[in-house]
Symmetry: C2
Subunit: 396 residues, 2 copies
């Protein structure tokens, strides 16, 4: 397939398969918001509402409206989630709960700062569509709350004994590198610049370890390696996802060395974490080769692979490195053979090491309307740019 054929496949899958799946099955007409626990065919099997997924779906439909086409039904679908979230999603301090009942009663306390990150992302993107001050205010207030909480994100729910082994975690700085672009229209340019500088330095200098060529999930406060379960942990999907966030940031100023570094890290990570026996990317690894604590370490997860496709295409667009394109085709084949469900649409989320479907559900507590549509959109757009570029440089 050439770039244009790939681009069409990604666009068509997004617009004719994945988005219709969520529009048809996930709207909660009775209570608002979305039902995300959907079986293979899209039937609801549980009604709990997880803030991550509610927010991510608001973001997704707002993004489609802003960037693909101003379809009223997409905006309405985003608004139905936003209304539910506005009413029920936060405690009195504006911290976002982790989950709610179908009707909106809080189930799990706001211990998880990523709920706030995805809320800021949702209302930031939505406010671009609606120009509604109520939406931008929620985004801005939530954003400042994240900054306030970032040194101790779990607050009183943090079970680590203070001082014994203070580790820095990769997840939040990584998410900030993406969130900041979602919030850009609502923040002062200096603030955006500050976060970008700090975020990309943290990701590329603190968590990236030149010796191994890998990004660690947790490091000591001074950035050194911690030879502990947490310190040895690799989360290749996280590292690969972060690399397209970094490429996006670096592309703003055509920072070629930073782009090159991000591409090299992507390729290293992929070489390291690709399962040579059965194909696919491992979920967790231990940098010293011990087994990670998570028993699901060898499973193949949809988001890991989708984020990898994005990084490879953005890397190829920016550098023309043929290894990116070769890996893209390999990971693409794996995904389309293993994750896609041509019969009922959308992607499976969880495969065992061999690539067999472990859990046939299309949505649950962690998988919703986010990584698949965002990835399809990002790949589609990037493939279009690659096709355009190659048609410009090719002699006519």
């Amino acid at each position: 397939m050439n770039e244009q054929a790939y681009a069409s496949l990604y666009a068509n899958t997004l617009l004719q398969d994945v988005i219709p799946f969520w529009m048809q099955h996930s709207g909660d007409a009775s209570y608002g918001g979305y039902l995300t626990c959907l079986d293979r065919k899209g039937k609801t099997f549980d009604t709990d509402k997880f803030i991550w997924l509610q927010c991510r779906q608001v973001w997704c439909f707002s993004m489609l409206y802003n960037r693909v086409e101003q379809k009223q039904e997409w905006l309405d679908f985003a608004l139905q989630g936003a209304e539910f979230l506005k009413k029920f999603g936060r405690d009195a301090q504006g911290n976002w709960y982790f989950s709610l009942t179908r009707e909106g009663k809080p189930l799990v306390q706001p211990y998880n700062i990523f709920s706030d990150c995805f809320a800021a992302m949702a209302f930031g993107q939505l406010s671009q569509a609606t120009q509604d001050k109520a939406h931008s205010e929620i985004a801005i207030h939530t954003y400042h709350n994240i900054l306030k909480r970032q040194e101790n994100p779990k607050g009183s729910y943090n079970k680590a004994f203070p001082g014994t082994r203070p580790l820095q975690s990769f997840a939040l700085p990584m998410i900030m590198c993406n969130l900041i672009l979602e919030m850009e229209h609502l923040l002062a340019p200096e603030e955006v610049d500050r976060i970008i500088q700090h975020g990309s330095r943290t990701v590329m200098d603190t968590f990236y370890q030149p010796d191994s060529g890998q990004i660690l999930e947790n490091v000591n406060e001074d950035g050194s390696f911690s030879d502990t379960f947490e310190g040895r942990l690799l989360n290749p999907g996280h590292a690969l996802e972060a690399m397209w966030f970094i490429i996006d940031l670096a592309a703003r100023t055509s920072d070629q060395p930073l782009i090159r570094k991000a591409v090299d890290i992507s390729l290293n990570t992929l070489e390291y974490s690709w399962d040579r026996r059965y194909g696919g990317i491992f979920y967790f690894m231990d940098i010293k080769g011990h087994p990670p604590q998570a028993l699901e370490w060898d499973q193949k997860l949809w988001w890991v692979h989708m984020e990898t496709l994005i990084s490879l295409l953005k890397g190829f667009l920016q550098t023309g490195d043929q290894r990116c394109w070769q890996w893209f085709e390999k990971v693409h084949d794996y995904c389309w053979t293993h994750f896609a469900d041509p019969e009922y649409g959308e992607w499976y989320g969880y495969l065992n090491r061999r690539g067999e479907v472990l859990i046939p559900q299309k949505g649950g507590k962690w998988k919703g309307c986010f990584h698949v549509p965002r990835g399809l959109y990002q790949c589609w757009q990037t493939l279009d740019s690659i096709a355009e570029k190659s048609s410009t440089v090719t002699p006519q």
Copy 2:
């Protein structure tokens, strides 16, 4: 194999394989306590100390000393763990931390009441060996602390929003049914009786659901079914383990109907959770057939199978139900073929659904010197009793 041959196999594996493995590899000569993160050959790959496992190992060596043989080296090995725990294991209120560094600095706060349960068990059993008041006082103080904390075991670390979905969890009442017998010599008979009555009623009436014949992991406060992820959860290993605790309690008063019920539940659970395709018992299931949230749901874990062997043998000893013996032979074959490691000793802990070794380590954060030796001891003793009984009833 006959009962006597099985009994010898279990005794020999305990005394010549498993106990030597832990004595040789797990003692921390530098800092006291035990190193439990051991690779396939017994080599340490991480030095964090998990209170569950420290306590369980103290219990194990105390139990061997009390019930198998008064070997000084066993008592000394128990004491080396107990000394470390006495010094470093508790906060100022006497709550047990979840984990410590190798040197004994607290790593994870006392959010987990099972740390306290296993501490009470350890010091209770040890005090029988030492008759040392310091040991019995720790056991008794910890026991009362558990009673105080049992309504909200996670305390301020509980992330459930109060009141929205108050569920009762099976784990603590189940553990109490076993702990009470470990503590019996330290408590007033009425207290023991009260806990036994309450524990066996809770397990057998509240969590056992006659319609399905299954024990649920969580139920509503009034004991009714909660159609939620937590409420639908089955943990077959828990249910099977609990049944031998109940048989032990019922055998004290020869309560035949209770024994019969426990045996029936064991057999039902096993029929329901046995993997007909690859053999072995699933780790988690959903009573409505949805996938459980835990991605490791289809894995085969050592403790689940060991606890099942105990329940089947105790059930057979008490009732003579041939199905118990048939299942015992089937589960035994599975274990000896899949979990045992004749080359380096001890058992693997984690197999994938197909029964292939997922993680070759012999110990880690959750697997230590406990389920394998306790199970081997319990099976050995029960097989001896079965053999004795059958030689008495067989005409000479």
